[in-house]
């Protein structure tokens, strides 16, 4: 099974793709801070941010459908978190501010991650002196996300092959939880083996290289 779902548009050749990854991350951080600290009453500024995101997206030549799909995964969470603000005084303003800022921030992060190969992001983070432990965690997450997806897909297929009778939803949920359980155990055991493989090649947790 082949998939590079994270890096699918990272190979394009646009000014945004060519930009140095370290510079991209620094710009990203600056813009995130700017968005977070702009008071929601400065409407013109937010118009500017939105326009800026729009220009970057068109520059990056990444299909809108791709960006929309990714964003749609995150928006429910943003709204869920923002909902809590509604119980405060003048909550509706806070709600708009939270949702708007978080959406803009997500859009920018999306843009950086979609126009940069994941390995380049990791190298950039390393150059920015992010602790080695985090970089290891990110890189494992990236490396094994493919494997996990494959495993889920294969288990699901095997399950479909053997479930001939139409079952009610309760039974399905029960089976799904069993599948998740077995995948969890397998993942856990793999983590142990990977750790052994790291040790075998001289890795010691105390050393920060």
């Amino acid at each position: 099974m082949r998939h590079a779902f994270i890096d699918i548009y990272a190979g394009l050749n646009t000014p945004l793709h060519r930009l140095n990854p370290t510079a991209k991350i620094i710009f990203l951080i600056i813009f995130l801070l700017a968005i977070i600290f702009t008071p929601i009453t400065h409407k013109l500024w937010f118009l500017f941010y939105a326009l800026f995101c729009g220009i970057l997206i068109s520059l990056s030549k990444i299909p809108l459908s791709f960006i929309w799909k990714r964003l749609a995964n995150v928006i429910p969470f943003i709204i869920l978190v923002s909902l809590s603000t509604l119980f405060k005084k003048q909550g509706h303003i806070l709600f708009v501010a939270c949702t708007l800022k978080a959406t803009l921030a997500t859009l920018l992060v999306l843009l950086v991650s979609a126009t940069t190969r994941f390995t380049e992001i990791l190298q950039a983070l390393k150059r920015l002196k992010v602790p080695e432990l985090f970089i290891h965690l990110f890189s494992f997450m990236y490396r094994y996300s493919f494997l996990l997806e494959d495993q889920m897909l294969r288990t699901q297929r095997a399950y479909t092959c053997r479930s001939l009778n139409p079952q009610n939803n309760f039974a399905k949920v029960k089976i799904l939880s069993n599948i998740l359980g077995s995948i969890f155990i397998r993942t856990y055991e793999r983590a142990e083996r990977v750790y052994l493989a790291m040790c075998a090649r001289g890795y010691t947790s105390e050393k920060s290289n």
Binding site: F146, A200, R201
Partner: protein, 243 residues
């Protein structure tokens, strides 16, 4: 000849109270290629894991005359290159280059030396052009060879391989065997592929239920059909008298 590995009365029980190894003693000399054969669940992998001090510290195992202990563990892991059975366990970094560089980085080498070692190891297994690929997207044969490169880059003196060619197609298997043939270092190979053992190893240990059932010259043991059958193996065709 210098002893590369010396094991005296090694027993091991997993935490779930399964005795995996009972009273194992063996000597392996420098430059030798040794096969460890036996049915599934015989304890082959468990035995191999011990050689790198991965299961626990154990004074009954000596590598180049040094017992496996906290003090020696760095030395031992430098000398013993361990290749795991499943490349998905062995290859854990995002790119091929980083995977091969992982060991040399842990050895504390300079960037120049790391580059040199990685280039050498990748050239040795014929994967130089895959340097910036993600290992997930390589074929199984390439992943197996890459797994070997990840330990070659540490220039080990003992190569320990756990089922290096299971599930490979004919040409990938041949490629791997020829590759291993060219390495003039001590090799310990656990496998069911007795044809490969015949091709590569001068000596064989037959393991079953955590015990060494028989040890001896490869040809002698592999031509003993009844012995092999009794332990879940089948004599390789090329050794049997034809007709």
């Amino acid at each position: 000849m210098r002893k590369a590995i010396e094991i005296k009365n090694l027993s091991f029980t997993y935490p779930d109270a399964n005795p995996a190894l009972t009273n194992i003693s063996l000597d392996i000399y420098e430059g030798e290629s040794v096969g460890v054969i036996g049915p599934n669940g015989a304890g082959k992998s468990t035995l191999l894991l011990h050689l790198n001090g991965l299961l626990n510290e154990n004074s009954s195992i000596r590598i180049f005359d040094k017992p496996i202990s906290k003090k020696n563990i760095a030395f031992i892991r430098k000398k013993v290159g361990f290749v795991f059975q499943d490349p998905q366990d062995q290859l854990f970094m995002p790119t091929v280059y980083e995977d091969v560089a992982f060991g040399p980085i842990n050895l504390g080498l300079s960037q120049g030396d790391i580059d040199k070692r990685v280039n050498y190891a990748l050239a040795e297994v014929g994967l130089t052009d895959k340097k910036n690929h993600s290992s997930h997207h390589l074929s199984l044969g390439q992943q197996r060879r890459l797994s070997i490169a990840t330990v070659l880059s540490m220039s080990p003196e003992i190569l320990v391989l756990d089922e290096p060619n299971s599930n490979l197609d004919h040409s990938s298997r041949r490629h791997l065997i020829n590759l291993l043939k060219n390495f003039n270092i001590t090799k310990i190979i656990a496998t069911h592929d007795l044809e490969m053992v015949l091709d590569l190893c001068s000596r064989v240990f037959l393991l079953d239920s955590g015990m060494i059932v028989r040890e001896g010259k490869t040809r002698e043991i592999l031509s003993d059909s009844s012995l092999l059958n009794a332990h879940g193996l089948e004599a390789p065709r090329s050794i049997l008298p034809s007709g």
